[in-house]
């Protein structure tokens, strides 16, 4: 029941904002959305603790059920989504959106949250797909309507790219899901995971796993299907970027764990080396692109590509450590990129553009708070121990070095080296940014430092980054059981 509360509340408020509450003032809309997201967060928290389940028929003729539950893999992502749901609404408090009504903006935020939560709750493959698609339109609206006010063409292009690219991916995934369901005879994810693909010929398993991986890879995004991400991030409003990076990308990796990895371990084993190679290429590719990227938001987006590369690398290794690494890196990236996008988005607002080549006042001199947040974010992004980014990446490299028995060891070891080299690139681009933006002697033009709701959000995110870095234990322990179940189910 508490699951339903945490789903219905944001959806209902969003619908009301879109219909009845169209004309409400910014403050009212924000208050309402805040209330909704806080209630949702409470619901999610409660659900994570009590682990209730919901199982109701929805479309019997498709065998589609409202089958919702929480387990170790979804719990962290649910929490992440709910917390950031509060965060983005809070962040909007002092920034009335441009390009449309404030009610619509808040509704879109809530709808994205709703879709993401439903995705993570879903225990039915088809329901998962439906929920997966839910976020597309609100996110698209956020990008095309509320994005960068300077360039309408870029907004349309970025929004179109986002929605078409991911629709392509999700349709591929749908095909994979349908094939999986047809072969396995059930769409219950838990049953699928227990079955572990038994009774399905390996060739079919591989094909289906490849379809699923290909579809989900778009969302993650994995090189070379990542080109939708930078424009989307660049043009999206800050709240949108945060949700995009911290929540939407996670849906892709979550799907990779739930569908191919858990349900078709044998098939996934055949696809995994390719995926791992792509992940490793993504690490280098994103890192290198960041070295010369001029736009700060695009840079952070490319760094996301690199970080998701670690996640994918960990996932592909087929070991429990790898899966743990991936899940941890997933959450860590969610927090870190959220932090970075809040900061970078704030900077873009203040500067009017995010071009690194323009000489500006050093953040350290004029806006110590933003500067500090940027330092923390980038340090976490380069995998500094004690901050969130480290554990996932280290464990990913470890997992790649010692992959499961059915993976090509030599290849994975090479990829481990690549991954480790990627951390140097991360350091290089992070320091490049710090050197041009944070450190320096210029103090003009002055910009306003972060305060009020923006600073609150930043502070919370910084704390989360620190907490995850200093005490990774609880998160790892949270996922441990389920990870063991999933990998243990493999033959």
């Amino acid at each position: 029941m508490v699951i339903l509360v945490s789903l219905v509340v944001p959806a209902a408020v969003a619908v009301w904002l879109l219909t009845g509450g169209r004309g409400v003032s910014h403050r009212t809309a924000n208050l309402l959305a805040s209330a909704a997201s806080v209630v949702t967060l409470a619901g999610v928290l409660f659900a994570v603790i009590t682990r209730p389940t919901v199982d109701r028929a929805w479309v019997p003729s498709l065998g589609l059920r409202w089958q919702l539950a929480v387990d170790g893999i979804s719990a962290p992502l649910l929490l992440l989504t709910a917390i950031l749901g509060v965060g983005v609404v809070l962040h909007t408090l002092d920034r009335p959106p441009q390009g449309g009504t404030t009610a619509a903006f808040h509704a879109c935020l809530l709808l994205v949250e709703f879709g993401a939560l439903a995705t993570f709750y879903a225990r039915d493959a088809v329901l998962f797909f439906v929920a997966f698609e839910l976020v597309l339109v609100p996110m698209w609206v956020l990008i095309t309507r509320f994005g960068d006010p300077h360039d309408a063409a870029a907004r349309a292009d970025a929004g179109g790219r986002f929605v078409l690219y991911t629709a392509f991916g999700s349709t591929l995934m749908l095909v994979g899901i349908l094939a999986l369901v047809a072969k396995a005879g059930t769409s219950d994810l838990d049953v699928l995971a227990q079955g572990g693909g038994h009774g399905i010929p390996v060739g079919t398993q591989t094909l289906v796993a490849a379809l699923l991986v290909a579809g989900l890879a778009v969302k993650v995004p994995v090189f070379p299907v990542h080109t939708w991400l930078p424009p989307a991030h660049t043009t999206a409003p800050t709240a949108g970027s945060v949700l995009l990076a911290a929540v939407l990308l996670k849906m892709g990796t979550y799907g990779l764990v739930r569908l191919p990895l858990a349900s078709l371990p044998e098939g996934f084993a055949h696809v995994a080396p390719v995926l791992a190679v792509l992940g490793a290429v993504g690490i280098l590719w994103g890192g290198l692109a960041c070295l010369v990227e001029r736009d700060l938001k695009r840079l952070v987006a490319y760094s996301s590509v690199a970080h998701m590369g670690f996640v994918v690398l960990g996932l592909s290794s087929g070991t429990r450590t790898g899966l743990q690494a991936a899940l941890f890196a997933n959450v860590a990236h969610g927090v870190v990129s959220a932090l970075l996008f809040v900061v970078v988005g704030g900077l873009k607002e203040r500067w009017g553009s995010a071009d690194l080549e323009t000489a500006r006042a050093a953040l350290r001199e004029v806006t110590p708070r933003l500067g500090f947040a940027l330092v923390v974010g980038l340090a976490a992004s380069l995998g500094l121990p004690g901050l969130a980014g480290f554990w996932g990446e280290f464990l990913s490299v470890y997992a790649a070095w010692s992959p499961a028995a059915d993976r090509p060891e030599g290849l994975f070891r090479a990829l481990a080296v690549v991954g480790a080299l990627g951390t140097v690139l991360a350091a290089a681009y992070a320091l490049r940014v710090l050197r041009t933006v944070w450190a320096g002697e210029r103090t003009a033009p002055r910009i306003e430092d972060s305060r009020d709701s923006e600073w609150d959000v930043i502070a919370v995110l910084v704390l989360a980054v620190l907490l995850l870095g200093i005490a990774p234990g609880p998160l790892l322990a949270l996922t441990d059981d389920t990870v063991s179940t999933i990998i243990g189910a493999a033959p």
Binding site: V292, T319, G322, P472
Partner: protein, 624 residues
């Protein structure tokens, strides 16, 4: 008792760092200073308590820190350890940290970012203490990387200076590049052992590999060598050994307390302690030892030569650090497996004292004379009640004059090399010869420094009178001076587990070398800076580290940037071209189709229908 102390030794500076961050925002320098120094004192006390506590018990004791991590197959216990050696080194680190904090409180009293600096130093100290006390490779890695990051912040403290920004960037990137090796080394070691605990790692890699059942499965030597070579690469980077050495002199752009901290007891020396922990594994990895020996031998001589030719005394000290750290590490490269890593650790211990002393003294001096360039500092110590003896003792110790602590530890290192020769290891010859050469060179540049500081120019008593150094600073320098003098006594205590002893023959030889080199320099000087005499016009090139920086740029930075440009180009023109191409093709098809249908001729519709029917029918029948 010692368990709690062990934890607190690390925890106190961490807490101080975090609180310091909060305090730093307020403009109140005193609060920040109180916090930093107070925490440092506490850390020293706890370290002392730990030493006392450990002394009673025997053997390694592991202390849990935070709960162990459940990371799938890998076990990460995240434990600390409390042995006499770790406790002693921790005490040294704490003491140096305290001295630096005290000094920084005065040195940076007018700096608007003192609070941040103090907090960073606290964090840095904590990280080093963590590395020292860690019983877990991952904890070591944590401390290791945090130290790197703190060094970035400290070196770049004066971020309004372009040189400082660049130096910080370079320091971090070079060490980070080398850290790839460290991380991979850790990963390989952990993967072999299934755990990141030192104990398990050493057991599984260094052990004979025979279990109770008698089945011997020795670890793969290739993998072992690979792991240790990678690990050594990381350590070479952090310690500034050739070929990663160039960041360290540049790091002098940071405030002097930061230099003291980085050079004395912490970052650059941390590798020594890590390798000491893994000595049993290292001893089995011949390749890694060769790499270590080669790099350190080259570094100690090369850095000593460069040190002599520096126009800036702080940079002279920086190169001396390189040389001395190379000496420390070389002990690990050559010491026979039975002797253990004691010599290296001892040199770490002694180097911490005298190098901290030297840096603080020179920092103090620079405040009174207004700079660290040799030309500015001429005769700077004359008549100063504190700096002159401190400098004197420090330089003597650096040169390795008995009975100061530098002598004791350096002789142990040379002795380890000698023992290595005895064990028939060729690289020990290399190290011994390089070491002896270094001894002479060290004496030479110490003599040069002293000549510059004391003999040339005239003492400016007034400037000394205007000295604003606080009591704390004076205390710190005094304490370090005393420790430099009497620290050698540690060899008669059981605090450090020393495998060897001083070989008198080598000791005699080195004393002769010291005296000879000293006299030679003195004779060259004749009222001028000997370096100017010897190096002369080549001094700028010495200052620039013989242009290695340009080599870095040409060999690493440019190609990587070119690759990055290529990637961006490919990303835009190839990877994304498919996407744009698909969109364009669709749109093109749309307009084309639209043109085809524009006429809206009913007859063509009919034609399509009939053609379609025939086609469908033909297709159907043909396929059947």
């Amino acid at each position: 008792m010692s368990g709690t102390a062990t934890r607190l030794v690390v925890l106190v500076p961490v807490v101080a760092a975090l609180l310091g961050l909060l305090v730093a925002r307020r403009a109140d320098v005193r609060a920040a200073r109180l916090l930093a120094v107070g925490a440092a004192v506490l850390a020293v006390l706890f370290a002392l308590a730990e030493v006392v506590g450990v002394h009673g018990s025997s053997g390694a004791r592991t202390v849990s820190s935070i709960p162990a991590l459940a990371a799938g197959e890998l076990r990460i216990p995240l434990q600390l350890q409390a042995t006499t050696a770790t406790a002693t080194i921790a005490l040294v680190v704490a003491v140096v940290g305290w001295a630096v904090q005290v000094f920084a409180g005065w040195y940076l009293k007018d700096d608007d970012r003192y609070g941040i600096f103090a907090a960073t130093v606290s964090l840095f100290t904590a990280a080093m203490l963590l590395v020292v006390q860690s019983a877990d490779l991952v904890l070591t890695l944590v401390g290791w990387e945090v130290m790197g990051w703190c060094s970035y912040l400290l070196i770049g403290h004066w971020s309004r200076k372009e040189t400082a920004r660049r130096a910080a960037l370079k320091a971090f990137l070079v060490t980070r590049l080398a850290d790839v090796g460290f991380v991979l080394g850790v990963v390989i070691l952990a993967a072999g052992a299934g755990s990141t605990a030192y104990r398990r790692v050493v057991q599984s890699w260094a052990g004979t590999g025979c279990n109770d059942a008698g089945a011997c499965t020795g670890p793969s030597t290739t993998l072992l060598n690979a792991a240790m070579v990678l690990l050594v690469i990381g350590i070479l980077g952090k310690s500034g050994m050739v070929p990663f050495h160039d960041w360290l002199p540049d790091a002098m752009e940071g405030p002097t307390p930061a230099s003291a901290l980085i050079h004395a007891a912490t970052m650059v020396a941390a590798g020594t302690f890590v390798l000491a922990q893994l000595f049993d594994v290292l001893a089995a990895a011949d390749g890694a030892r060769w790499l270590l020996a080669l790099s350190t031998a080259v570094t100690m001589v090369y850095a000593a030569v460069l040190a002599f030719g520096q126009s800036d005394l702080k940079r002279l000290l920086a190169y001396s650090t390189l040389s001395q750290v190379a000496l420390m590490l070389s002990a690990l490269a050559v010491a026979p497996a039975d002797d253990g890593p004691g010599a290296g650790v001892l040199h770490l211990y002694s180097h911490a004292f005298f190098k901290a002393l030297l840096f603080l003294a020179i920092g103090w001096l620079s405040v009174t004379v207004g700079g660290t360039a040799a030309a500015t500092m001429r005769g700077g110590v004359r008549g100063h009640l504190f700096i002159r003896p401190a400098m004197f003792v420090g330089l003597l110790s650096l040169a390795g004059v008995p009975p100061l602590v530098g002598f004791v530890s350096k002789e142990h290192v040379l002795d380890a090399a000698e023992a290595g020769i005895g064990a028939g290891e060729a690289r020990a010859w290399l190290v011994l010869l390089a070491g002896l050469l270094t001894v002479a060179l060290t004496a030479a540049y110490c003599m040069r420094a002293w000549i510059v500081l004391d003999d040339l120019g005239s003492a400016d008593i007034e400037r000394h009178d205007a000295d604003t150094a606080t009591v704390g600073v004076r205390t710190a320098v005094t304490v370090l001076t005393v420790l430099t003098v009497v620290g050698g006594l540690v060899v008669v205590t059981p605090l450090l587990d020393l495998g060897g002893h001083i070989g008198w023959l080598v000791a005699l030889l080195s004393i002769l070398l010291i005296v000879g080199a000293g006299l030679a320099v003195r004779s060259v000087a004749a009222g001028k800076d000997p370096a100017v005499r010897v190096v002369g016009a080549r001094m700028p090139s010495f200052d620039a580290g013989l242009g290695v920086d340009r080599l870095y740029v040409a060999l690493v930075a440019r190609p990587v940037l070119a690759l990055a440009h290529l990637v961006v180009f490919l990303d835009r023109e190839v990877v994304d071209a498919y996407v744009r191409g698909a969109a364009a093709a669709t749109r093109f098809g749309g307009t084309g189709g639209q043109r085809a249908h524009r006429g809206e001729v009913a007859a063509s519709g009919l034609a399509w229908v009939v053609a379609g029917v025939v086609a469908v029918a033909l297709a159907g029948v043909a396929l059947w």
